[in-house]
Symmetry: C2
Subunit: 219 residues, 2 copies
Amino acid sequence: MSLSADGPVVPEVVQTDAESVRDQRRRQILEAAERAFVREGFHGASMHTICAEARMSPGALYRYFRSKEEIIAAIAEDERRRAFTVLQRLEGPGSVVDRVVAAALAYFEEMERPGATALALEVMSEGMRNTAIGETFLCNEVAVRDQLHLTLAAAQDAGEVAAGVDLCPTISMLMAFAEGIVIRRAFDPMLTRARIEPMLRCVTETLLRPVEHADRRLG
Amino acid sequence: MSLSADGPVVPEVVQTDAESVRDQRRRQILEAAERAFVREGFHGASMHTICAEARMSPGALYRYFRSKEEIIAAIAEDERRRAFTVLQRLEGPGSVVDRVVAAALAYFEEMERPGATALALEVMSEGMRNTAIGETFLCNEVAVRDQLHLTLAAAQDAGEVAAGVDLCPTISMLMAFAEGIVIRRAFDPMLTRARIEPMLRCVTETLLRPVEHADRRLG
DNA sequence: TTGCCGAGAGCGAACGATCATTCTCGGGGT
DNA sequence: ACCCCGAGAATGATCGTTCGCTCTCGGCAA
């Protein structure tokens, strides 16, 4: 990065600070916008509301974001990045079931942030239409699915997942279950982590075991 | 209701026809609004768009609905009613697992209607804020939960569901799973009924079996 | 039959409010 | 001196809603 070896040039600290100030302003706006969107939705919240929430004039705000759409896109991308981060748990220690459950629990914890679920629902709604936000959302879905596939395929090779399990629909089921729990948790205070975990683990084990077509009854 | 016993008054048939025409217009508007909302969301779609979709002028439309909010509420209530209807499957023949799975499959079929999932997501988003639509949504959630509780409690009394199963969180899990599958299906064409059914059945059986705390490994 | 009547459906321009965005301009740092 | 930042008024567009008007149609007196 240093262009000259000895000249005092512009100290990197200053440049970093300057960028940091700009980034800080952007983050301030994004956090304000997030609060506004949680309260009133992407289309329900006006720029004036966001400005008020960020304690900024429209003129100032528009120096950092070119449009409302750009703010929404940035927030959707943040959401994407955060959701994807929990998949690091897939590379931790323990059995494959342990790791999948750990990732799911981390996801639930992540979504406990106030309004996180409301925001996710908003992103999903937007994702159903063919907007740019939808692109981001679908891209993330594919990335999550790929990551899960890598983990489960390795576990299957190692004999930890039954050979007869068709991974793709199984992954869909796991993702559906996790997503469904997140949404339900927003309305249902009974769904604590302590109550979720054993069932989640049980279901995960069931899904990764060989398919049993025999008609079973409870004993 | 009849003020005179023998007078010819106004024949009821005429009145019925008049109401039918009005109901037909209302349904025409609701269907148009639904299409518009699916395309652009509750807040994204304007009354002009809805009017164009319904081939009506604003003046005409406002004779049938007092506000946009009223249209949204009517659509949310339709959604609620439809979703609740599938629970009739809980009273059909077969084991409790059969019946729960049948209800879930009926729900998936119901949600295959174009845009149904988009609409449901929109209703959920709105439901997260404390609007009147949220009231409708939560009311429906409770009704579904109660109905499931009745069925499962009866099955538990009959010994068909393990006595150790805590029904309330189990019901939450079942609902979460079903809802998650519906949402995922909107993005994932792989989730056909044929692929879903065995896994759904397997998971349902697992959830209704006694909790096993012992650490199990695949054989 | 003809002509007039009132009711209600429907139309589309128009309303005030609010939307996202831009313009103008004063103040502070270099 | 310059320059960029930020404030806040102003912009045209669009929002949900209303208003004044026309058209249609059934009933009734002549």
